[in-house]
Amino acid sequence: MTAGVEEFVARGVRPGRRWRAALRRPLALLPLGYLALLVAGSVLAPVLAPASPVATDLDHVLAGPGAAHPLGTDALGRDVLSRLMYGGQVSLLHAAIVVVTVIGVGVTSGIAAGYLDGWFDRAFTWVVDVLLAIPVLMTLLVVLAVVGEHQTVVMVTLGVLVSPGLARVVRGATLAVRKELYIAAARVSGLPHHRIVTAHVLPRIAGPIIVQVSLLAGGALLIDAGLSYLGFGAQPPDPTWGDMIAQAASVIDRQPWLLVPPGVVLGLAILAFGLLGDVVRDATAEPRRNRPHGAHRAPAPALTPREERSTALLSLRDVEITLPGGQVLVEDLDLDIGRGETVALVGESGCGKSITGRAVLDLLPAGGAVTAGSVLFDGTDLALAGPRAIRGLRGSRIALISQDPVGALDPVFTVAHQVSELVRLRHGGSRASVRERALGLLRDVNLPEVVARRYPHELSGGMAQRVAIAMALAGEPSLLIADEPTTALDATVQAEVLGLLRRLQEDRGMAILLITHDWSVVASSCRRAYVMYAGHIVESGAVGDLLAQPRHPYTEGLLGAMPSRAEAGGRLAAIPGTVPEPAHWPRGCHFAPRCPLATAQCRSRRSPCSNPPPGTAPAACTTPSCPPGETVPLLEPPLPEPPLLEVHGLRVGYRPHQPVVDGVDLVVRPGETLGLLGESGSGKSTIGHAIVGLVRPAGGRILFRGADITHAGARQRRALSTHLQVVFQDPHGSLNPSRTVGSTLAEPLRVVRRLPRRVAEARVTDVLKRVGMPAAAATRYPAAFSGGQLQRIAIARALVLEPQLVVCDEPTSALDLSVQAQILNLLLDLQQQLGLSYLFISHDIDVVRFVCHRVVVLRGGRIADHGPVPT
């Protein structure tokens, strides 16, 4: 419970600066308080100490704790407490010297290496490799042997010797931040490097730096004490903590107590630094993806056996799926799959499709479970059967393939090894027969034999998905749950994998539950489909009927949002808003807040999906269908004008003789949208990056309004930033999470344009309004917005400098269908209002066809085709 609350509190503060809040938590106050006490006790020792640290009292040697000497006396009758306080002066000063050295050497060099990259980084890595292998204590002993009495030199040396570890961490963190899209955006905005480092990089890596420095401070105390224990510290009779331990050791058989005070004070000080580091690390670390399976159990289910029998292979009735906290993810779900049938479960992300698929196999993350209803598989109720029975079905009766094909294979074993393991599990037999069978499975999924010897990282996405399918087939299951099996694949590979699934289904009579968000996949593979929205099935029926006559407004809205079904030049019938999180589901129909037809009745209760009028498919909406979405006047095709952007023979290559982009020519005219269409690896994004100056071209020329910008310097780029801007694919990465939207948007105006604050703020409000965001958005952090809203803000950031050309690098491919429609509409509106030109980079032919005037098709870094958009 407390962990949850802490997490919530941590989310409430500025992300990226969570360490500040972390230091104010009770767990951090304790070590901070202890360290403050130590510092005060040492600094004020001359005032506070009960006795002189060197005053001997031979009448009271080796006394235990008492009134005269709170912590007793040592072998010479000296007051232990006083010696501790004075000893602290030396130890803390030494730790401070080490920390200052480490920060000076380690942090500076780490940031420089991580940010500058190139030869400096290579030299840095080399030096760090060498230094990390130096035995620290031994080297310190050498230095001590030479300069023994100069403790400061020894401590500075210690600082230098432990710097490489910190420098490496700082470099890694800097490198990670430098690759963030918002850094790229800041560079395109024309911000100078020193500004990017201080305003965008340093605040993000402060957390890891504090953690490391805290741990190093503890380590410095330890080594300092160790050295004085060995007799290399301050000379007697001056006290140090380590020396006190050494003296205690010599009288260990007469007064063991003497070991306690210095040991405990020193141990607690190191512990305090360690705890501080832990607290800051826990607060700044990314949350773990999900908990291990079975760590928590869902609340006790209320399951009752079902009366009615079912002839379907899999039949779900009134299924409810709940997380351990009581959060309901899926409600009243009914779904049937017949033997050998392929059924689609369609919907946007966050609707509960994958959860439903995994619930059948009891593979829910974070201990979620089916808490009501029944899951009949081949006559057995899985919800009642218990985990052991379900485990018995996995692989042998029901199998699963998932979205990320490479991630679904164990990276340390070869393909043959992984397939063979399953074959052995299912069929046993000799080594040779297992191998033969495994190779047979690979042949079944159209993979050549050489693939068997490869590791997962040596496979393409399509190959990996075939391997995953082969593994799923090893147990000859009667149901395959295919969770977005083609989403991560390129269009041509996608078609091949779907074809393979169709063939296997026909050959083997295997039923498939196809979970997808893509209607074209549904249309090509399934006869029947269920449409899911926010945990409910809203409509089901034959795919043809769903596409032709959708009965639920959500289905209709989804179809209307598809660029392939829209008229070019018009607008998409976008559904406003986004899919709500389960915690924010409304009371009645979950779709009501986004539905143009919602009535008071819709908002108060949900119509059940179960009782369709005879002859029609079930739908959860009784409101009559809405009128078709209105069309906006067609966009005027642009007149031939002098080009805005010209690219001639562009070549980009990271290695010689391996160009990523090889001889590309293109032209963008004012007011037009040029589509750049290609599959992954075709070089389309690289072209965009070369135009905005994020990568260096190896050859060719880039002209903007006639001026050569191929190798533009920092000054020319800064001037260019007011003409040429970029919008990236990932809206979450393209805004700095630790700054408000307003400060991100105002930054280029203030730094590049040097506008006064008031003017800049007015301009920000203006631009936000233009992209459909309220002015209040300026005061909030990116974490407060959904993906679609963030992409609007990212577009606002591109527009704030009033450019003529915006490079849109897959601006909608990370978004759901309904949100994509909103963003595409927005881009078209902005073009019409502001006369913008777009270079629109995409892999989606339907989207390109919808928004672009002309298109260039890329394959393998070369232009394969170009011309006006086919209609």
Partner: protein, 313 residues
Amino acid sequence: MLRLIAHRLVVSVALVFVVSLAAFLLQSAAPGDLARAILGQNFSVPAYEELRHQLGLDQPVLTQYWNWLRDAVHGDLGSSPISGLSVADEISHRLPVTLSLIGCATVVTTFAGVALGVVSAVRGGRIGRVVDVLSLVGYALPSFWFALTMVTLFAVTVQLLPATGYVPLGTSPAGWARSLVLPVATLALPGIAVFAKQTRDAMLDALSRDYVTALRANGVPERSVVLRHALRNAAIPVATLVGLTFIGLLSGTVFVESVFAMPGLGGLAVQATSLHDIRMIQGVVVVFTVIVVAVNLLVDLAYGRLNPKARIR
């Protein structure tokens, strides 16, 4: 992989050069030289010059270094001007003690830490918290202080084990083992907790991956998922930790040998430092560096075997 090892070898050779040269330069920068150290407080200038000449100290530093390096390559690390003993002989006498200590401590740390980490990743809950507390305690306790406490408990109070000293393996294997229990326990404690934590994190990470879900969905038994697939993946980051732990133990052994009066290299280095016997400690540092280089190479090879992505095709 081959490139990685070649790179590592180049770095290693550079490292041995840098360390030994740095020791030499430091020595020449030091106030008062070897000759003065040998002669003590009262000496005559001609005798001093004579000795400097004998020791080769009147030559430029780099020439001195070259002479030393030439001898070192042939196994001659010079002799101590203080004790007159051959540095190489002295080191080879003491090397077995230190290697026994560090070797045993590494093995104990690795096995205990990995086992604890796996259990706490799979079972979670209470064992996880024990690991957390243990790792903080292991980090915070000064090893020499912990060693003294162990001596007080097990050698002075209970008299179960010898408080100090070392019995060579050849003399009495049982005695060797008994003499190692306390020092190895002291050395291993902080490392076990680090290993357990790292193993747990790596295991939890592996267990949260898609391939684990896929394996479970394909009906692979949980035992195989955890011990074959997850552990094998978790071993990749843990392997690098073995090297780092070993290098860390080279520092720890200095304190532990001192507390338990073990005649090892750590003790030799401390003794040489307090006598300002730079020749001797320089020899020890070079030997330590060579050990580090060898261990790093082994770790790289193990890493390459464990991680197919690091292997050459």
